[in-house]
Amino acid sequence: MQRIGVFVCWCGTNIAATVDVKAVAEAARKEPGVVFATDYQYMCSEAGQKLIRDAIAEHKLTGVVICSCSPRMHEATFRKTVEAAGLNPYMLEVANIREQCSWIHKDRTEATEKAVVLARTAIAKVSLNVPLTAGESPVTKRALVIGGGIAGIQSALDIADAGYEVDIVEKQPTIGGKMTQIDKTFPTLDCAACILTPKMVDAAQHEKITIYSYSEVTEVTGFVGAFKARIKRKARFVDETKCTGCGECTSKCPSKKNKNEFNLGLDNRTAIYIPFAQAVPKVAVIDAESCIKKKTGKCGLCQKICGAGAIDYEQKDEYIEREYGAIVVATGYNPIDLAKYDEYAYSQSPDVVTSLELERLMNAAGPTKGTLLRPSDGTHPHTIVFIQCVGSRCDDARGKPYCSKICCMYTAKHAMLIREKYPDTEVHVFYIDVRTPGKNFDEFYRRAVEQYGVDYIKGMVGKVVPHDGKLLVQGSDLIANEQVRIEADMVVLAAAIEPDKSARSIATMLTASIDTNDFFTEAHPKLRPVESPTAGVFLSGVCQGPKDIPETVAQASACAAKVIGLLAKDKLKGNPCVAHVNEEMCNGCSTCEKVCPYGAITYQDKEFRVPGPKRTEIRRVASVNEAVCQGCGACTVACMSGAMDIKGFANKQIFAEVDAICR
């Protein structure tokens, strides 16, 4: 039998004015198990806490009930108090007689009656409390960043600056991501490379950061503080430690007709290549599919020419295994495939380009050296039509139901830049809505219209027909209520963006959740936007939802702050109120595993003693990873055999509370 002490707080007059605190203490004294009950003006004050500590010592209390304000207010305070007196902190219950009693009732008898019931309920619960110890697990002081775009780089830099080791795993041969392909950034028109490449160099030179380019995470096990990741370093057939990035090999390679991915196939590259001049690491890579040596065994020109002796045709994929305390997902996005939008003639005419392709066409390091020329014949375009929401806000199977968020602004940017550089060009923009929430964003869009004379047309384009070297664009102008036909030289499509294809497999690997569009789900849409519901997994950049660069960087730094907060701890103290399985009762049905939102439940084969000649048998039973479980209790209700329970909110305890209320 427990020895319970009940402490009724007056809270000055907050409680005492409407609740007869003496009567509550008196009634509590009659409850089974209660050996001590008293009241005091301010239980949370130092004197009040001393009163509790002394009573615990004097009356050898094993459980404490405090009738006071909401447990959301002072439960933590009183837990520390009882712990200081040598009691387990979880042998305490708080009866909420202020917010849920004295403050809402005016009648003294009624309020006192309710306070007595609430005290009785807490006593019933505490008599079934058991001491709980929060599990502890060590924290590996190293973070893994999956994806080396601007989001990954920013998170890595911030974490590394706090003094923790960070590994960036990037599947492309260079870090930098989509931002390297962008020409200028809105609304300041800064050159993207000028602000990104220094950050890439910072990351490469940072003593705490290791970059694994041309690598992929293939497997992740473990849990918060102790993840284990397997990283595949794809063979690039060039020794990264020897290659100096001189580029001699790329000028001699005879296989020259391969699509240049960096310029989105607008020009060609050699089989051995460096993605672009500012690549980090600046190391060549051999594309095995187009390398003549790899295909036929004859050639080997690059090996002969390489002064550093870095070429190794026999290189194999390598695997590394490492432990991490936290994982940052920064897998980013891609524009959607427009092959299904045949009304815009994207696959029929090279002069119909996506906005990202236009970025390359306008970039000084791009295929046209920064002069805007039609990809089909290299002439200067005089009429350009922009079409927005291509695939965004589409509820059919071809597109995406969400707004891609960045298109309105980059289209305004493109239109403005073209009008500025080539004032003889007519620019028309077909839009459904122009969405410009953001600092200096609407001003920017208005400038495109007012100052640069970009023709914004409210309406959508119905079709684009290539005809005689021109593109016939037919759309509607809803405000003039007419169908417009424009003979354009180029058409630019603002393609919707979608999460990178790897998002789904990475989410599965990390048991992190993704939504129907494959964007990673945050732990709380408003209050925990950079954490995944899976402890220790954090979200950075567009993998969580469409974002522009400033937002991505802000989120990446926020994410880093969360990671640092985690890595700064030596040990993780879990929430002890987690699920617990009674293995004797578990029948191994796997129902709990399916309802668990955190993947905290796994199944194990265990040996049990049984009556009869066999003595033991092996049964499959659930096992809860206490470091991962958050204690929601979904499994306890799903469990058909009643084997699952939550510590601190056990079935027995809640039954006792219900009984005490209804008594």
Binding site: I432, V461, G462, G475, S476, L478
Partner: protein, 130 residues
């Protein structure tokens, strides 16, 4: 919207199975319509007018007879609103109500065009006659 208007709009929605509220007013239907110039009310207006209950005007409109039923608007609508089905429904309403034929079999030879496929003639006959 009066009660009658509401009832008529509901009827059109029921026959067509279209929910005009899904429309986000992008105008792609009218942008793609090959019969646009022949119409007094254009596909996007059809959707808006059904939503507002202005069925009387639609019943008297030229558009219901000039719509080619090519379904380009249905194919390309990003929100799957299907304006052609609304037009079809209004047309059906007219045909059902007045019981008159808009095309008699004897008229067909004089309208015949050599390039016109047989299927188009059959479907036009079905469309314009009771």
């Amino acid at each position: 919207m009066s009660f009658e208007e509401k009832e008529m709009a509901e009827n059109i929605k029921r026959i067509s199975g279209v929910n005009p509220r899904k429309c986000m007013k992008c105008g792609k239907c009218s942008g793609t319509c090959p019969a646009y110039e022949e119409m007094d009310y254009h596909p996007h207006e059809f959707v808006a007018m059904v939503e507002k209950g202005r069925i009387d005007e639609l019943l008297a409109s030229k558009s219901i007879w000039t719509c080619l039923s090519c379904f380009a608007c249905v194919e390309r609508c990003p929100r799957s609103v299907e304006p052609a089905k609304l037009i079809e429904a209004v047309r059906l309403e007219v045909i059902r109500a007045q019981g008159a034929n808009h095309l008699k079999a004897v008229q067909i030879p004089e309208l015949l065009d050599e390039k016109l496929p047989q299927q188009a003639i059959v479907s036009a006959f079905r469309k314009y006659s009771k």
